[in-house]
Structure formats: C-alpha cells, structure tokens
C-alpha cells in the first residue's frame, strides 16, 4: 500500500491532501506526463467527492487508497454521499456543451487515466494508470 487515509476533507484542503499522495508517487520515478495525469485525476476525484458526494459537509470523510501492482498505479477515492449515475454524465465536448462551466471533471479523469471504474452507486471511483517505470529505466 502506497497510501491510505480516511479523513474529513473540505475543498480548501484538496491541494494539500493531494500533494501528500503525489509525493509518494513522485518517488517512483514516473515521468512528468504521468504525474500530471495522476494529479489532475486525483484532484478532480477529490473535488467531486467533497463537493458533489459529501455536499461539502465538514463532518463527512473521504477515503483515499493508492497502491502499485504490476507497474500500474491504482487510486481509490470514496466519499460518504449518495453517489451519482456515472453513465448519465453529459458530454462536455459536444458543441452544445462546450461553453458550460461544469461537467468536465469526470471527463478529464477518463481521458487522463487508463482505466476508470465507478462503484457503490457512484460514491467510489477506482482509477488505474500504467506507470511505464520499467520502460523509463531502460531508456
């Protein structure tokens, strides 16, 4: 296990919370693009968990787990909210939605990570990123 923490989290704490996880991932010698993608996905997932899942309730907690298996990074983010229908998200890239101010978080996660799975009615997301650290070491 690379990281495991369940804590009360508000939007102001997302950056600091994310940094503590990313420091662990940085130490794995992953390339900058991978780190960028993981940071963006993690922070978007945390924002969704706090804002939409826990409805910014300061009593509610967010669980984050991260581990490496077979050169893949697994990140799980789980909130205490009622979840949402992950199949029902609007496409933020369609012309009619392009000027919308919200709705890009989940889309960006799906673009930046290699596998994304929602469960527990949408209150849990598991994201997978291929790290390619072996390939980087060979280069």
């Amino acid at each position: 296990m690379l990281f495991k923490k369940r804590s009360k989290l508000l939007l102001v704490g997302v950056g600091k919370f994310s940094s503590s996880i990313l420091e662990k991932i940085k130490s794995l010698n992953v390339d900058d693009k991978v780190l960028f993608d993981v940071r963006l996905s993690l922070e978007e997932a945390l924002i969704n968990a706090v804002q939409h899942g826990n409805k910014a309730d300061k009593k509610k907690k967010v669980l984050v787990e991260a581990y490496i298996d077979n050169d893949c990074l697994y990140v799980k983010v789980e909130d205490e909210g009622k979840g949402f229908n992950s199949e029902n998200t609007t496409s933020s890239i369609e012309d009619r939605n392009i000027e919308k101010l919200s709705g890009r978080g989940v889309f960006l996660i799906k673009q930046c990570m290699d596998k994304v799975k929602f469960s527990k009615g949408g209150s849990r997301i598991v994201m997978v990123k291929y790290l390619n650290t072996h390939r980087k070491q060979e280069e």
Binding site: L11, E43, I47, I93, D95, I98
Partner: protein, 110 residues
C-alpha cells in the same frame, strides 16, 4: 499564483505564474472581472509559467470569454505548456478559444 497585468490601450495582457486550479480560480476570477468593467476589449492570457490547469481553471477562462463576448471583446491564450495544451485539446476547448504560440502572435492575431 502570481498575476501580472500589462495594459496597452484597449488591450490587456495577463501573465500568469503558477497553477490555474480550484485554489487559485477565485483570485483569477477577481482579476478577470475587473478587466471587463473598464474599456478593455482585447485580452491576452499568457500561460508561459503555468504548469497545471484543472476543470475549475478552464471554467474561469470560459467565464472570461463569455464576459468579453458580451461587451464585444475577445480573448487570446498563448504560450501553453505541452501538458496544459493537451488538456485544451482533449476537452476540445481549442474550438472555443483562439490559442496562439506566443504573445507577439496573439497581439498580431487581434
């Protein structure tokens, strides 16, 4: 985040330094709001020293564009880092924003 403003007639250039994300969006939004209250019609946002952007940062830029359009103004974005540029590409926001390679090209593009 550090925001530097450079006014040239009806043109205003914002040079940003730091992440454009949820933490910094309120500061950026406030800076952008003040520009559309004067006679500024052309705005350039220079991303030369921006290594990271999230969905909240993108929304702040869309808000600025919408505000400028309402007053007959326009926006150019320039000097995008490769990874940040990738975010504009996957979200297809390059269709909404005019993106230029550098500040000189952005000025000329108006």
């Amino acid at each position: 985040m550090k925001i530097t403003e450079d006014r040239k007639g009806e043109m205003l250039i914002y040079r940003l330094k730091g992440d454009v994300n949820l933490s910094n969006s309120p500061v950026l939004r406030k800076a952008f709001e003040s520009c559309t209250q004067g006679d500024v019609k052309k705005v350039i946002v220079d991303f030369k020293e921006v290594p990271y952007i999230d969905s909240s940062g993108l929304a702040t830029l869309i808000e600025l564009l919408q505000r400028l359009k309402k007053i007959g103004g326009n926006l150019r974005i320039c000097n995008l880092d490769e990874k940040v540029k990738g975010i504009f590409e996957v979200t297809r926001l390059f269709k909404l924003f005019k993106i230029c390679d550098n500040e000189d090209m952005a000025v000329e593009d108006f």
